[in-house]
């Protein structure tokens, strides 16, 4: 069963035209990621990890080949449809947290709900999700620059989760944290995977990659090990 995978890449290439000649970041990649998987995407810098992330995160379209997310061909969608996919289907966790500096911790988590429902959250969901990632309630009125790295990443995970996405896309989520805090964050991600989320983790740290059930190794834009 499960004939249609959550994410399918068929013969995907991404070529950046440069003055010195075209640069191929992704070279004819075909790949399936099924619902409920915990996948680590590994590779040295310049291997195409970021380009791959952008494809999986519907931030970009391939030069050739097709990317399907939740059964839909990304290239044939309108800009607005892609925006709504990013809002509803994918949760992003970045290395540098990327919280909105002008909003409080609580508002950062509430923000995707406002994007989706076009109104302020009255259901208490934002607060509940913040709590579920172990974020101290008293801190929720603080702006991101008043929080520690670990606290910011918890807020970022809560933000990623608040619209109940199928996919959690984590780009070096522990890269800006000390080891101990990093493992705490990984524990949260493991817990979310157990709850049924599909987790895609980009990292170059083998210790972090060990948390995953499957490792995709990229090198020079090709999958060398899957």
């Amino acid at each position: 069963m499960d004939a249609i995978p959550l994410i399918r890449l068929t013969d995907v290439s991404k070529v950046y035209p440069l003055e010195s000649g075209d640069f191929t970041a992704l070279n004819h990649i075909s790949l399936d990621i099924h619902e409920g998987e915990f996948v680590a995407l590994m590779g040295p810098s310049g291997s195409g990890k970021s380009t791959m992330m952008n494809q999986l995160g519907i931030l970009d379209v391939p030069t050739t080949g097709k990317v399907y997310v939740a059964g839909k061909n990304i290239a044939s969608m309108t800009n607005l449809e892609r925006t709504h996919m990013r809002r509803d289907v994918i949760g992003y966790v970045f290395q540098k947290f990327y919280l909105i500096p002008l909003l409080s911790a609580y508002e950062n988590v509430e923000y995707p709900l406002i994007l989706k429902y076009k109104k302020r959250d009255t259901t208490g969901r934002a607060a509940a999700v913040l709590k579920s990632v172990g974020f101290d309630d008293e801190m929720s009125a603080h702006r991101p620059n008043q929080l520690s790295g670990g606290q910011q990443q918890r807020v970022a995970i809560a933000r990623a989760l608040v619209n109940d996405p199928k996919i959690l896309l984590c780009d070096e989520p522990t890269g800006n944290l000390d080891r101990k805090t990093g493992f705490q964050i990984m524990d949260i991600l493991v817990g979310l995977h157990k709850e049924g989320k599909t987790v895609i983790l980009v990292t170059h740290d083998p210790k972090i990659a060990e948390y995953s059930h499957r490792t995709i190794q990229l090198e020079d834009g090709r999958v060398v090990e899957s």
Partner: protein, 397 residues
């Protein structure tokens, strides 16, 4: 419900408070310039128009001397005759008809000599149409009223005696006594009587000294209702000029039209000068908005990557421009009242028209234009922000 994008804009403005305030000052200046200039022009127009319309209800009828037939003896009788006056009275109906004798004369006060106009009017008419500022209208036969300019130049007072006529003639000259001094009318008198430089005597005294009884140099018709001006003019024209053109009928409405149009183009001109300041304001708003966009590239990248629609990003920046506009327009509006009032009172010296709708409308008008300028200046920066590539924007440090 508060829009979160509005909150974001408010916070962004607050975060860069000084910068935003400075940008708004441009709008403040623009609004004040437009409002004050507009109000100045309008107040000027209203005042001049009001001064002019005090004389507009008068039709002035003068003999058509140009058309005196060659060879005939008509020139000796180039005045409005008693029968023509009757015709005019008939045509004028309820409106007041004032026959006027007029010529120019020399006169002496003590040892100084002068020249001016002399008007002969019915004493009742003098009382009715002249504004005596000092003294009283003539009561006795040889009482006169004099214009403000003459009174000023020769130091005339109530009771001063004036000899009328050429000084080098040996015959004794008639003497009149100043009973009253008239209010200055300036150029604005529309009734064909330039009383500032005139001596006004009774009609009987005039015809005793200058002759021409039952012949008048000018007839004024004072209308009760200005809107019937051309109707009454037509009636007089039909009645008096039925065979040939014997009188010329004129009024000062054309003068008002030309003065009004001059003033209104003057207002447009000063408004245009005021608008230049708004152009400068637009540049500074544009600049601040572009700074706000380029400082927040990464933030825009975050917003876009987690699923914010382009339109929402645009809205956020337009709100910001709108907030700057509101701040500028409100401060500008308040200052316009103060500055506009001061300018009008300093330059025109009369603020009685300031709060009339025609004048005060320039304040909301200026505020609205200021706001529009702000939002228009924010359009391009907002468009630019919303069209960023989220990947590129995120990478921006």
């Amino acid at each position: 419900m508060r829009d979160i994008f509005f909150d974001l804009s408010v916070r962004s403005v607050r975060l860069n408070f000084l910068r935003s305030l400075l940008a708004s000052i441009g709008i403040v200046i623009g609004v004040v310039a437009i409002s004050s200039m507009g109000m100045l022009g309008t107040n000027m127009q209203l005042i001049v128009k009001d001064q002019l319309t005090t004389g507009i209800n008068t039709i002035v009828i003068t003999p058509d001397v140009v058309r005196a037939e060659p060879g005939s003896s008509a020139s000796s009788n180039s005045g409005i005759t008693e029968s023509q006056l009757t015709d005019i009275r008939d045509a004028a109906g309820v409106n007041e008809v004032i026959p006027i004798d007029r010529s120019s004369t020399q006169f002496s006060i003590g040892s100084s000599n002068g020249r001016g106009s002399i008007y002969g009017l019915d004493p009742e008419d003098i009382k009715n149409i002249m504004n005596v500022s000092e003294g009283s209208p003539p009561r006795g036969e040889s009482d006169v009223v004099v214009g403000a300019t003459i009174a000023d130049r020769f130091g005339l007072k109530i009771g001063t005696r004036i000899k009328i006529g050429e000084p080098n003639i040996s015959a004794t000259r008639p003497v009149v006594r100043v009973a009253g001094i008239l209010t200055a009318t300036g150029m604005s008198s529309g009734n064909g009587i330039n009383s500032d430089n005139a001596i006004i005597v009774s009609d009987t005294w005039y015809s005793n000294q200058f002759g021409g009884e039952n012949v008048y140099d000018q007839v004024n018709v004072n209308l009760r209702d200005v809107s019937r001006l051309s109707e009454v003019e037509d009636a007089i024209d039909k009645k008096v000029n039925r065979n040939k053109e014997v009188v010329r009928i004129s009024d000062s409405s054309s003068r008002i039209t030309s003065v009004s149009s001059t003033l209104s183009s003057l207002t447009t001109f000063i408004l245009a000068i005021g608008s230049i300041s708004l152009l400068v304001a637009a540049t500074s708003i544009f600049n601040v908005m572009m700074m706000s966009v380029s400082e927040r590239v990464q933030e825009i990248g975050i917003l876009l990557s987690i699923g914010t629609e382009k339109g929402e990003i645009r809205r956020m920046f337009l709100y910001e421009a709108f907030i700057l506009g509101i701040i500028g327009a409100v401060i500008g509006g308040i200052m316009s009242i103060i500055i506009g009032y001061s300018v009008v009172s300093a330059m025109i010296g009369n603020t009685s028209y300031f709060f009339l709708p025609e004048s005060i409308v320039y304040i909301p008008g200026g505020m609205l234009i200021g706001m529009i300028v702000c939002i228009v200046s924010g359009l391009y920066p907002a468009w630019r922000a919303s069209n960023m590539d989220p990947i590129e924007a995120l990478r921006n440090e």
